[in-house]
């Protein structure tokens, strides 16, 4: 079904090869490796090689000009005492822990409203999906910068009903919230995944429930939610991984500095500043690995927790 589904079945299905697999083994080796060649080269040169290299660099001091100098755990020790880094973690965690559930909740809600064979579904779906395609662009970030500015669209609308709004993106208390809203605004793609998931719940469950006199709300909690839980899980994993890496919106809205007073200084933004602003490549590499560990831990927690709430029908 999905990359994640496939991975988890792969780990479940360990065991000796079947006879058939053994027989087949090696038969197409030459052809297969020729077909795989671009991918294999990419894996080594673009992915695994750089990963190992950045692991090495994370133990060095390196500014691109002088050769890397081994400093042991210095970079990681520095991270411990780096208050701006701690702040960037706080900002990123807030973004992920508020933005992702909020976005998925809206996506699910709208998918539920859309699902019941509503007239005009393709039209609505397009409208809701469009922001997902545009949301990552610099252009939309520019738009956001305007509409949440002091004299922006939001405050113009508020002024019409007599409210004087703050400068949303210039106030440290609300700047991050504006960017979280931008994330929620792109709920269209998880919504489409939810719609596809809803389509696969067999109707007989609902019919049986109706015969038993279950209310719509009971049907939602007892049928829709459990049956949809693998999809919710899948969306959750993907969105969390993606959100930890979000960069463009905060960069453009804050003018590249993560301001005001570091309130939108995402971890990736700080990493960019360290690596490509100050060319502190060793430190940036250490940060990148730290990010990988964080994302890995979150994903692992997700997978472990999924045993308790994700329901597989097979």
């Amino acid at each position: 079904m999905s990359a994640i589904g496939e991975l988890s079945t792969m780990t479940r299905r360990k065991g000796p090869m079947t006879k058939e697999e053994k027989k087949a083994n090696g038969r197409d080796n030459k052809a297969a490796y020729i077909f795989l060649l671009p991918w294999l080269v990419g894996l080594v040169v673009i992915t695994v090689g750089p990963m190992l290299m950045s692991l090495y660099l994370s133990f060095t001091d390196y500014n691109l000009l002088q050769p890397p100098e081994w400093v042991g755990l210095d970079n990681f020790v520095r991270m411990f005492g780096d208050a701006r880094l701690h702040n960037s973690l706080r900002v990123t965690f807030t973004y992920v822990l508020v933005g992702v559930p909020l976005q998925l909740a809206v996506a699910l809600l709208i998918a539920l409203v859309l699902d019941k064979g509503l007239r005009g579904l393709p039209f609505y779906r397009s409208i809701f999906y469009l922001p997902s395609l545009l949301g990552g662009s610099v252009a939309v970030a520019i738009l956001w910068k305007q509409i949440f500015g002091t004299t922006g669209l939001v405050n113009q609308v508020l002024a019409m009903i007599g409210i004087e709004g703050p400068g949303w993106i210039s106030d440290p208390n609300t700047a991050l919230g504006s960017i979280i809203l931008l994330h929620v605004w792109t709920f269209g793609s998880p919504m489409i995944i939810f719609l596809a998931g809803l389509r696969q719940i067999p109707n007989m469950y609902y019919e049986a429930a109706k015969v038993d006199g279950a209310t719509t709300i009971q049907q939602f909690w007892r049928i829709t939610l459990p049956m949809l839980s693998p999809i919710i899980f899948f969306n959750l994993v993907l969105q969390i991984i993606g959100s930890f890496q979000s960069f463009t919106q905060a960069f453009i809205v804050s003018g590249g500095n993560g301001g005001p007073s570091d309130s939108t200084m995402f971890f990736t933004l700080y990493l960019y500043q360290k690596g490509f602003g100050q060319f502190d490549m060793g430190y940036a590499s250490a940060m990148a690995w730290f990010l990988l560990v964080i994302i890995g831990v979150f994903t692992a927690i997700n997978f472990i927790a999924s045993k308790y709430w994700v329901f597989y029908d097979d």
Partner: protein, 309 residues
């Protein structure tokens, strides 16, 4: 796993309404159908409201780009008194090069990325979906993992690598990785698709004496056009919007793609040029919008089957 592939995705919904009994109310019960109609109305109201709020900022940006600058800070409505094209002409020539220059740069990167993804990903996908080879499971697992790998972990050494071979301020760092199938996610999308193609077709070709290159080119590729279309469309949109890669590798204004050009614009603008900034933002979104308009079917199928962005 291939199940989803054959099931109708959210895409083909129009026919669904008629078929599924869950959505039919019992015809005899008048009171019931009236409440159902009210329910329907409420739903439409919710959807129109939410959709309206979502789309309003975009519409407002389009309208504002056609207004004199000072109105952008005073006029939240969508009414246009006159058409002001000066924002477009000003914005077009506001940077070192006319905006078209950056669009051509973007187009080059996009084209290279599309060609790269189509060739390299389809080849890898054929191997994973159809061929038996040692290490297949391991490699397939690695491929799936790389889909989820954060870009930032590799960006520093990649930058060092590309800067050492003198590729900074060229398009190569943005295109070459695609030629090497690093967008693993399209490999996965295509693997899913190829698994849905009956194996009998391969067998028939093999009996006729075709080798793998020929089966791939003559049998599989023509049948996987929908997957190739999805890949093309997603590659287009993501590459067109890609900011981080361009920000790092392209520092010379000659080489700017659209996102970094816009960023340069937003940094250089005084408080009075929001109109032209909006105008160029809209110009930059226009190709994405066109692709969305004509490629929606593939986009929605692609998301529904692989669950991407």
């Amino acid at each position: 796993m291939t199940k989803l592939q054959t099931l109708p995705a959210a895409g083909d919904s129009a026919d669904k309404t008629a078929k599924s009994p869950r959505r039919r109310e019992s015809p005899g019960n008048l009171a019931f159908s009236r409440s159902a109609r009210i329910k329907g109305l409420i739903k439409h109201a919710i959807l129109i409201l939410v959709g309206g709020v979502m789309i309003y900022p975009l519409l407002w940006m389009v309208v504002s780009s056609l207004r004199p600058n000072d109105l952008i800070f005073r006029e939240p409505g969508l009414w246009l008194d006159s058409l002001e094209m000066s924002n477009y002409t000003d914005g077009w020539s506001a940077l070192t090069h006319p905006f078209g220059h950056y669009m051509i740069n973007s187009a080059i990167v996009v084209l290279g990325s599309i060609v790269g993804n189509l060739i390299s990903c389809s080849m890898a996908a054929y191997a994973f979906a159809r061929l038996q080879f040692s290490g297949k499971k391991l490699f397939f697992g690695i491929m799936l993992l790389t889909i989820m790998l954060p870009f930032h972990v590799v960006i520093v050494p990649q930058y060092i690598l590309f800067s050492q071979i003198g590729w900074v301020n060229t398009f190569w760092p943005l295109i070459v990785p695609k030629l090497l199938a690093t967008d693993a996610f399209f490999v996965f999308l295509m693997v899913q698709f190829i698994r849905g193609i009956p194996k009998d077709l391969d067998e028939a070709a093999r009996i006729d004496g075709a080798g793998h290159p020929r089966i791939f080119l003559r049998v599989i590729l023509p049948l996987m056009v929908p997957a190739l279309a999805t890949t093309t469309i997603f590659t287009f949109i993501w590459t067109w919007n890609d900011f981080f890669g361009a920000l790092i590798y392209l520092t010379d204004p000659d080489m700017f793609t659209v996102p970094v050009a816009l960023r340069a614009f937003v940094d250089s603008q005084s408080a009075t040029s929001w109109g032209s900034l909006f105008a160029m933002s809209i110009v930059s979104l226009f190709p994405v919008f066109l692709v969305f308009l004509f490629g929606q079917r593939f986009l929605i199928k692609g998301i529904a089957t692989t669950g991407i962005k």
